[in-house]
């Protein structure tokens, strides 16, 4: 129910953030029916895509979904908890490599791969997070950057995971134990869609839960939350672990689809693109960053092929335009989103709140 809460903030907009959307009187902020209809239509369209698109295109959409789930995990930390991170690629990679290794050495069953990849990513996130979440702000950003880089170096040098050649020879997944392997792009896509939807549900449920409220409390006033009697360290560690698990699930979906993992998949590019997608889409909304992720991947993988070798330039231009035209991201263009004092400064946001 409280997934609708971000909308509730429109009821009385902050007078300071006088945007064009400010102050729509008598506008009912809670419209669960409309919301459910939109969600239903989007899910149906996504599910129907393999019936209309060519295998190459459906592969692109599948990669977008897997990447988008990684981006959602970044938003859970960056937008909801107020901890901008570059380290989620490490857990994405953990999930992807675990799924790949399980597929090669143990079983082709996708459920097992998903479970193993998610669980291991959560454990790794908890262990590394135990150190990382002791820091905050720019230091935290640097620590997570180091975690991401470390994971890539590790993947780049470990013979077990194919080192710099990448992990090749991942067999196609099966969903039913002992069933037919899914070779058709559309069938694999449906599995990726299932993982994506599962991850989204987990993210939204967590955001709406008491833990989610505590996470937003950390974002808006960590020391105030402590003064209310909350030890903020476990909240941050829990958020970090859950985000790591979601990134791991995204990694298993990625591996199921590409059937090849290279250390480049968890490089700095990926981390930066993920953070870019969050900013582009609207930090803290979870659904906005999904649109941001789609935009980033479409520009990088599809539009860029028309302007040879200038994909990065296009992304740069896109980012600059977005920051100027949509300071609160795509989601923020529609209503006043929640803002975080640590990240994505709201115009005229009170300085008192940052403490």
């Amino acid at each position: 129910m409280s997934a609708t809460e971000p909308m509730a903030t429109t009821a009385v907009p902050a007078p300071r953030s006088a945007g064009p959307a400010a102050g729509v009187p008598h506008h009912n902020p809670r419209r669960p029916l409309l919301r459910r209809t939109i969600v239903g239509v989007v899910v149906l369209v996504l599910a129907a895509l393999p019936l209309f698109l060519a295998p190459f295109q459906i592969g692109l959409v599948g990669r977008i979904l897997a990447f988008a789930l990684l981006v959602v995990s970044v938003d859970l930390l960056t937008g909801v908890t107020g901890m901008p991170t570059l380290g989620q690629v490490a857990y994405f990679g953990t999930g992807a490599y675990t799924a790949g290794l399980v597929a090669i050495h143990v079983t082709e069953n996708a459920l097992v791969q998903l479970a193993a990849g998610t669980a291991l990513a959560a454990v790794v996130a908890m262990v590394t997070g135990a150190v990382a979440v002791r820091t905050a702000g720019i230091v935290f950003l640097m620590v997570t950057l180091a975690i991401g880089e470390l994971a890539q170096r590790l993947a780049d040098s470990l013979p077990l995971v194919g080192a710099s050649n990448g992990l090749a020879g991942i067999p196609p997944i099966t969903v039913v134990p002992g069933g037919e392997p899914l070779r058709l792009a559309g069938l694999v896509y449906w599995w990726v869609l299932v993982v994506f939807l599962l991850g989204m549900v987990v993210a939204f449920v967590v955001k709406a839960s008491p833990l989610g409220r505590s996470m937003r409390g950390v974002r808006d006033g960590e020391s105030r939350l402590r003064a209310l009697g909350q030890n903020t360290y476990p909240v941050k560690l829990l958020a970090y672990t859950i985000a790591g698990a979601i990134a791991g699930a995204a990694g298993t979906a990625w591996a199921a689809q590409t059937r090849f993992i290279s250390p480049g998949d968890l490089g700095f590019d990926m981390a930066a693109f993920a953070l870019l997608s969050v900013v582009l889409g609207g930090a803290g909304t979870l659904w906005g960053p999904v649109i941001g992720a789609a935009l980033v991947i479409l520009v990088r993988d599809w539009l860029a092929s028309y302007v040879e070798g200038r994909g990065a330039l296009l992304l740069g231009v896109l980012f600059v335009l977005a920051v100027y035209l949509l300071p609160r991201g795509i989601a923020g263009a529609r209503w006043q989103p929640t803002w975080s004092p640590r990240f994505g400064r709201a115009p005229g946001a009170s300085r008192e709140g940052a403490r």
Partner: protein, 259 residues
Amino acid sequence: MSDALLQLRDLSLRYGSLAAVDGVTLDVRAGARHALIGPNGAGKSSLFSVVAGHTPETSGRVVFDGQDVTGLGEAGRARAGLVRTFQHSSLFLGMTVLENAKLAVERAQGRPKRPWPSPRADRAIRDEAMQHLKSVGLLDRRSALSGALSHGERRQLEVGMVLACRPRLVLFDEPTAGMSVAETTRFAELVESLPREVTVVVVEHDLDVVFRLAERVSVLAAGKLIADGTPEAVRADEKVREAYLGRPRSSGPLFGVAS
């Protein structure tokens, strides 16, 4: 001694050679209405910060309800019932008023780290949060962003949140700073309406509020406790006058005829 809820024993906070709090020993009785006054820079807020556990003390002990809480952090002390308000309203500005209250209620009685919703528990939290909002007169503002509240309303919400923590002792740090006269009166009424199970210690500049609310007044100057007693006794205290007005050059009256 036995009915002292809060005992400070030789509490000090030093920054290098500067003693912000200098060997303060003080008892606050359970149920007391205790005021802490002193000139600017006397160390009142520093003392509060140390008592609340926000700033670690240099030396000394804090005993709350017979239990040594010196080693306990801010969150631990708040859970034990020793809660403070902030000199500058410090709310969760990106959230609604109701959510601010829910955050406070959840700390005290919910499971603030539960990562899934539970309709029954969530309704109980909501009901109690609404009740606290009602008691501070903010019920009809519950869906406003707390960043959109006026200064006075923010202080009301601050009080509501502190009460939602089910405190046994509240440290109010200059609660009426920046309030209008009407808001100040309203705040005083709010404190007067608190049940006696809640002990109140207040740092205040507005001496009208102090003498209206407090049954006992402690005076801090340059980090030291220089007086402690009933409002009347403190008002008459020579050292207090000196701290506020300075030491007269001659021993003669301040506005006397030049001899």
